[in-house]
């Protein structure tokens, strides 16, 4: 059976975090704190989502002078639909596994 794309536990955690407030632009460091994903896991997922136009990216000038601008992220409409779909599928699967009881012979 082929695997469904964008359904790894790490990606689902990121989806959940991004869907928390979908309109807000998010920072990489804050997403890392919220999801518990290390930068080496988080950024490759962000790159993949962005390359597939599921994620909007932007640069925001830093609030403190002398600091470099920060990269910010937000799900696109497609990304939001996909994220909701994948999270719902994962929830269904978890419920299904919990409800499963072997039939008596």
């Amino acid at each position: 059976m082929p695997r469904t794309s964008h359904s790894s536990p790490q990606t689902l955690r990121l989806f959940a975090a991004l869907l928390g407030d979908p309109a807000r632009w998010r920072y990489g460091y804050d997403l890392s704190r919220e999801t518990g994903l290390a930068s080496g896991t988080l950024y490759p997922i962000l790159m993949r989502l962005s390359a597939q136009r599921l994620l909007d990216t932007d640069w925001e000038p830093s609030d403190e002078p002398g600091r470099p601008p920060r990269h910010t992220y937000r799900l696109t409409a497609d990304g939001m639909a996909l994220a909701q779909d994948r999270l719902a599928a994962a929830a269904r699967k978890a419920r299904g596994a919990a409800a499963f009881t072997p039939r008596e012979a």
């Binding site: 920072y27 290390a38 930068s39 896991t41 950024y43 490759p44 962000l46 390359a51 601008p69 920060r70």
Partner: protein, 231 residues
């Protein structure tokens, strides 16, 4: 520690350029938000992975010809020193200048010499080894191990006896002019740490019959296979 982690990340992201790729710069910009040295280290380490991913994506977007060119260049640059090291320390080709190991290794034949394997597996009877000629130490020679420490070697009626039993030597030439073993002197018991060696061309080979057993320490390599002539 934080400064060192940041410096490594900067080099990884930017290299010699003014600015790195957008994702590398993004990781770098967030670095200052981390608290404490461990979080900074973790962030930088993950950042290296992110940079590697970004780089791989960029490279796979390049035209095929450029990717092939780069692969060839990298292989050449890394492969040349690697092959020099292997040739020097592990595996090398050799030319057989004499007829003393015929017919197993014919004169003017070429063979592969394994300089490492015998140090792991030990030397066994029947192995063909290279070592310096005892009376001309600058030159190496190739002979077959006939006796290990503790074996008593002698020859009678043209045949070799180990501990009183005649050896079956299928690797010798059929022609007794070549394969008769004579002039062994009296029975020799091989001392600890030494080897009794004979060339396969018994009538021309100079070997332990003249030199006595040779020190195991001096063994330089073991014949892996004959590569020329093809057979």
């Amino acid at each position: 520690m934080r400064r060192a982690a940041r410096a490594v990340l900067v080099v990884a992201v930017r290299g010699r350029r003014e600015r790195g790729g957008p994702w590398g710069e993004a990781v770098l910009a967030e670095f200052d938000r981390t608290n404490g040295r461990w979080e900074a280290l973790r962030w930088a380490a993950g950042g290296l992975r992110a940079v590697w991913h970004e780089r791989r994506a960029r490279v796979s977007g390049l035209p095929r010809a450029v990717r092939v060119q780069r692969a060839v260049a990298i292989t050449a640059v890394l492969g040349l020193p690697a092959s020099l090291v292997i040739n020097q320390f592990a595996l090398t080709g050799r030319y057989m200048p004499t007829t003393a190991m015929a017919p197993t290794v014919p004169v003017a034949g070429r063979f592969l010499l394994d300089k490492v394997g015998f140090r792991v597996t030990g030397i066994e009877r029947g192995d063909i080894i290279e070592f310096p000629i005892p009376d001309v130490p600058d030159d190496h020679t190739l002979k077959r191990v006939v006796g290990l420490p503790g074996d008593t070697i002698e020859c009678r009626d043209g045949r070799v006896y180990r501990d009183g039993t005649a050896l079956d030597e299928p690797y010798l030439a059929g022609d007794p002019q070549i394969s008769r073993t004579v002039d062994c002197g009296g029975p020799v018991t091989v001392p600890a740490g030494e080897l009794y060696v004979l060339g396969d061309h018994r009538t021309v080979s100079r070997d332990s019959r003249q030199w006595g057993p040779i020190p195991q320490r001096s063994v330089y390599g073991r014949l892996l296979t004959v590569i020329w002539p093809l057979r």
